[in-house]
Symmetry: C2
Subunit: 325 residues, 2 copies
């Protein structure tokens, strides 16, 4: 079995296999650009780690499907950035901004097709189940994004709505990543499903962590200005929980704060953060992250594998929620 660092190196080498064509330039340059801005590659890493529970043989039938997850994720980001009118991602201009909307639509489309091209490298015996898992997940991600956009129009949402939305928008893809590695590795149905559950709960923990860091992260480490979600009135775990806990006057205060615009950024961010602390929401978020992390770990235990084997996956899960960006 490999360490996390060794898995990282395998992933680095993977990205050199990419075979991206050159022409037409307006179609393929954005793809290259998006892949080169890079990311944490969480999803392919999770896939490879799950696979490594069963095998050390890292060749095309596992590395290409693992890359497919990253390519698919990048596709969703390109299109999300158009729909959200986002100018930057990971500190760089979005494809939408760097080129234009039409280029972003079409190169995103090409990326979704490329994901399926890479997926098709899976071993033929498991290809139908890998495809089914991936397509089901991909559709769910679209549903999650739709709910996210629908919720923007609503003054508030319930915690149930929020959890369902991030379940679809974020968690299922991590669940899919973990399960896919297991499927390709030839794991039993029980192990595959346990890894799905592990990935799902970890995905929820991951998203709430994301929400937390955007408001309470360390700006220097985080790499971007905190408070973006607050300024966008994004329905994060923090905001949803605040509405749940707030009494009448606090709800009023929150609504007024949400109406403040970019010209009063610092004041808005500080006031909302303080209200979160006052309501106990900051602490509750940290606690909720640990709770979902524990569900993930429990699911992993239920896989019935020797603790020694799952150690690296467990380490990965820890690092995911204790990251600072």
């Amino acid at each position: 079995m490999y360490t996390l660092e060794e898995i990282d190196r395998i992933l680095e080498n993977c990205s050199k296999l990419r075979h991206i064509k050159q022409e037409p330039a307006n179609l393929y340059e954005p793809l290259d650009y998006m892949m080169s801005i890079g990311g944490k590659r969480i999803r392919p890493k999770l896939c490879l780690l799950a696979y490594n529970l069963l095998s050390d043989d890292f060749r095309n039938p596992i590395v290409f499907p693992a890359m497919a997850l990253e390519v698919f994720h990048e596709f969703t980001l390109i299109h999300d950035d158009i729909m959200d009118r986002s100018d930057t991602r990971r500190g760089c201009p979005t494809v939408y901004r760097k080129w234009n909307e039409n280029v972003a639509i079409l190169s995103g489309d090409a990326m979704s097709i490329l994901a399926y091209k890479y997926l098709a490298y899976a071993p033929q015996t498991v290809l139908p189940s890998v495809l089914d898992l991936f397509s089901t997940t991909a559709m769910q991600v679209c549903e999650g994004q739709q709910y996210d956009m629908d919720f923007e129009e609503m003054p508030f949402i319930t915690m149930e709505d929020y959890l369902e939305m991030i379940g679809l928008k974020t968690a299922v893809l991590l669940a899919c990543s973990a399960k896919m590695g297991a499927l390709i590795g030839g794991a039993s149905k029980e192990v595959c499903n346990a890894l799905y559950e592990f990935g799902y709960q970890l995905g929820i923990a991951f998203q709430i962590t994301d929400d937390y860091l955007d408001t309470f992260g360390n700006e220097k480490v985080f790499g971007k200005k905190i408070g973006g979600d607050i300024m966008n009135n994004k329905k994060t775990w923090l905001l949803v929980e605040s509405f749940r806990r707030a009494d009448g006057p606090q709800k009023q205060q929150l609504k007024q704060l949400l109406q403040m615009d970019e010209s009063r950024r610092d004041a808005k961010v500080e006031a909302v953060r303080n209200l979160y602390v006052e309501l106990g929401v900051k602490e509750a978020a940290a606690s909720e992250i640990l709770s979902f992390h524990k569900k993930a770990v429990d699911a992993l235990s239920a896989a019935g594998l020797e603790p020694g084997r799952t150690r690296v996956l467990a380490q990965f899960a820890e690092e995911l929620i204790h990251r600072e960006k």
Copy 2:
């Protein structure tokens, strides 16, 4: 073997198998809407006809992949309509116009995933080759659309450019449709490749016919106002060939005509049509359509199947280029 009418009825029944979910509404209603506006279903029909050369067994392993071709085609139309800022399609509002751009992006994405879901019903033995054919084709369609958009910015293009662009944007999908039916039917490599070539040449003929009808079609039969391409200065076969044939003064005349806007629609359409006739381009287009049709028919003969078996496919090809809309 079935007749064209029987294949039509099989396709009608197919569309009832669609299993479209309901929630979230903003994601799935546009899908339903797009499928219900309907179309000529040329691509699935071609797929089923090719399959029928080899088998009469029309169940999920062929009908769902056939439908995948239509779903994929519809996906490209939803996104193309955003990129072209088109208000109507088949006489109805586009998804982009009926809902909004974000809905059109995301429901289009969902359709591309749905296509792959349907494709996965192909028999497991041929699934890898079906996937490979489809993904390669899908990527080529994106390339064709990119070239089409790039060409809009250019004052003129060569006939070589035009043929390459429509090859990618239109012909490869018909080629894929025909070959896919053959693959799923278990045809030999030679027959599969012959059907690909048949579909490709037919696709070129089909697109030039499209260009021809938009300018010279019978408005009552055509179902929409003629001259749309002329008003959009679209690089059709007619326009490209005109620039090729025109002498100095005629090129000047053409350039001036292209600058006329919507306020002078009738004058512009009439003048361009007359110039096309004067240059012999109208006649040449009709002749070119027949020429590509003949290439298609020759490719079909090269498949080495009994003429009796290919009769219905040949009839389909005839009807495709002799249609009036």
